[in-house]
Symmetry: C2
């Protein structure tokens, strides 16, 4: 007998969906490759923050455990390095309408997994691979794949039409650090070193308390790429000094708040280095027994972390799927088509916007918008708040003409 919804994966997508369904009395089982206590340890998973649209979902799910005034942040500080002689560097802020919040996923995910279990949720721990999916499908009315691990994303064919890159555009070095004072007002600093890449500096709460995430997005061949290869374990102090040197040379807006005497990685597991090729996969597939599987989160899209949208879009996909399940619990192709259609605008905008941000050389209309942000606080605020609404950001950035129309609305035609 089929038992409601089977969710494979216990990341933000899987847990938000599980909590939503549980809240609506819809039978659900979560299949996780890690027990709750394992989720609390190991290497840092990402350096992502949740924007207010995601925080609002957490509030609705009753998992808003971190008081937003204390744990949240309120703005973006932009720091654009000089792209060439005679062009000055720029610094300007942009405000959110409501705060965002960065919580280390080794704190966040186990807390939500516990919430789900304490409310009676069925949480099963063990490896799941693609080979296990047919058996799981026989036990459930619908399978939701909410992880890209164990090759599970491969069930869903790639969508070449939404994949402009066949290789990573940035090589990453993300870590948690002590010794960087928060900006005032407390915010994320987005520092751009033309030709070399970006730095995202994010106020983050981890098991160590309040720390600072530094995510270096390094252009291959650029002066900061060395960070993606440097081995912390070989010589921690040398690694930290390298990071400080790169901050000083390329990201001075953050370096100014670093105290070299206190600056250090918070621990050997608190560093992630690598690179990813952005992928988009088909929304759903039919399984051999006629049932359907839907992809959410990393199983559906993997975006570069440069604008921190991955977790937010994963939560969004979970929420949209959850609402559709409550509205129309008949799990056929019509259901899957509706699930795909209702999320398409925001998800595709997230992908397209992120891919624009990592394009090389930067698109002229993106540079024009950044310049306008430096001259107009309302423009900067709207761009910043649109981190909550990627489809609105893409309305502004999809074409040069759209950027022009947006600036004209702000009197900058």
């Amino acid at each position: 007998m089929a038992e409601g919804i089977g969710i494979i994966g216990a990341g933000v997508a899987g847990l938000h969906l599980a909590l939503y369904l549980q809240q609506h009395d819809i039978p659900v089982i979560v299949y996780s490759d890690q027990a709750t206590q394992q989720m609390a340890s190991g290497r840092i998973r990402n350096t992502v923050a949740h924007h207010h649209t995601t925080v609002a979902r957490e509030q609705a799910l009753g998992v808003d455990h971190w008081e937003i005034g204390q744990y949240g942040y309120f703005c973006h500080h932009h720091a654009l390095g000089s792209p060439g002689p005679g062009i000055p560097p720029l610094r300007f802020p942009g405000d959110f309408e409501a705060p965002s919040r960065g919580i280390d996923y080794r704190v966040y995910l186990p807390r939500l997994a516990l919430d789900y279990q304490e409310r009676g949720g069925d949480f099963r721990v063990g490896p799941v691979t693609g080979a296990d999916v047919p058996a799981l499908a026989g036990r459930h009315e619908l399978i939701v794949v909410a992880t890209g691990k164990a090759g599970l994303a491969g069930m869903f064919p790639l969508r070449a039409d939404k994949m402009p890159y066949d290789k990573p555009m940035r090589r990453l070095c993300g870590g948690l650090y002590h010794g960087v004072a928060y900006s005032a007002p407390k915010g994320v600093t987005m520092s751009i070193a033309p030709g070399h890449g970006e730095l995202l500096e994010i106020p983050m709460f981890s098991a160590e308390g309040f720390v600072t995430a530094l995510l270096f997005e390094n252009v291959p061949g650029g002066a900061t790429e060395i960070l993606a290869d440097a081995q912390y374990g070989d010589d921690p102090k040398a690694f930290e000094n390298l990071v400080l040197d790169i901050l000083r040379a390329h990201h001075p807006a953050v370096f100014e708040r670093a105290d070299p005497a206190e600056f250090r990685l918070t621990g050997p597991d608190d560093l992630v280095q690598g690179a990813l090729t952005p992928t988009v996969r088909q929304d759903y597939v039919q399984l051999a027994d006629g049932r359907w599987a839907i992809a959410i989160g990393d199983a559906h899209t993997v975006v570069d972390p440069v604008i921190g949208q991955g977790a937010n879009v994963a939560s969004y996909e979970a929420w949209e799927l959850g609402t559709l399940i409550t509205e129309d619990p008949v799990f056929d192709e019509r259901f899957c088509r509706k699930a795909a259609a209702r999320r398409a605008n925001r998800v595709e905008a997230t992908v397209d916007w992120t891919n624009l941000m990592i394009g090389l050389p930067p698109a002229p209309h993106l540079l024009r918008l950044l310049g306008a942000m430096s001259a107009s606080r309302p423009v900067a605020d709207e761009f910043t708040n649109n981190f909550n609404y990627p489809e609105r950001q893409w309305d502004i950035l999809a074409t040069p003409e759209r950027t022009d129309a947006f600036l004209a609305r702000h009197g900058m035609g």
Copy 2:
């Protein structure tokens, strides 16, 4: 210099959009082939009623001129003739959550056209054909084609994937009559004569006051088809007697309320006979100068009137397009794609549901649903109220399995 939005057509789609844009201070010009006073005369245009979702739009637009308690109706009365020996006829009602309303379009449209003009709207009268569209496009940022007249719909290619029929499935005879007492509670009667077709009896307000619309949907080759060919002008009394005879023989639930002494067509122009092949067209096209034209209402879809959805979906398309124009006034392909995507679920459901209702022979799961409605008031109420929400109706009727799931939710598994 481009002047906002150009709307070709002053039917419900064109006027609802024009009023919406006017209300939001967006420049708009309506191009109508009829002056306001001409819209008040001539042959009856249809026998459609507006369901509450449409009435709510009229309220928001400030054109809710006909007090709903007096002019509205509250339910559907279903009368199913016996399909064969030993199977009894069935009668059962279904309630709306909020009233619907039928107003003769020769009263309705000129009133709304006047509202628009009295509020300062630019309303230009004259013929417009496809040949005029390029010149109009040069004067506007976006062209909206809101009429199928003058071959304008032909700008938009047909969508064969949504057109199961290559010929009309019913031959129509719709007219306004005196001499039929309203049902109690006041409602529409949907009478089905198996093998011969349907009758929709609709309380309608016309220039004559409260009258009754009778829309005969006649199956080609059936016993009532003669109504589609009978010539009222040759012998009005003979025509009316024929209608009475057919009511008596095939639609007794309505005949019971007809007073033969008073029964008559309200006037020679108050009759429309014909047939139509349901069409769906592409949502938008690019014009030679690079601008875009979007189809709404009849230019986009023409459905059989059997469930009276045409005007309601036209209003819905106007509303959805209006909201998108206020949200994202950049009229490029992205805009058109979004316009198409946001209306697709309801519009396609309207088309698919209507086409199911006129299918021959009737689909077994549709008959199963009608049978369940006769046995369960909640089922009948939900089907009835879903005339406001075609996408929900299609959730119930898209497949036999969906009908089964719906009935199971009502304890009729």
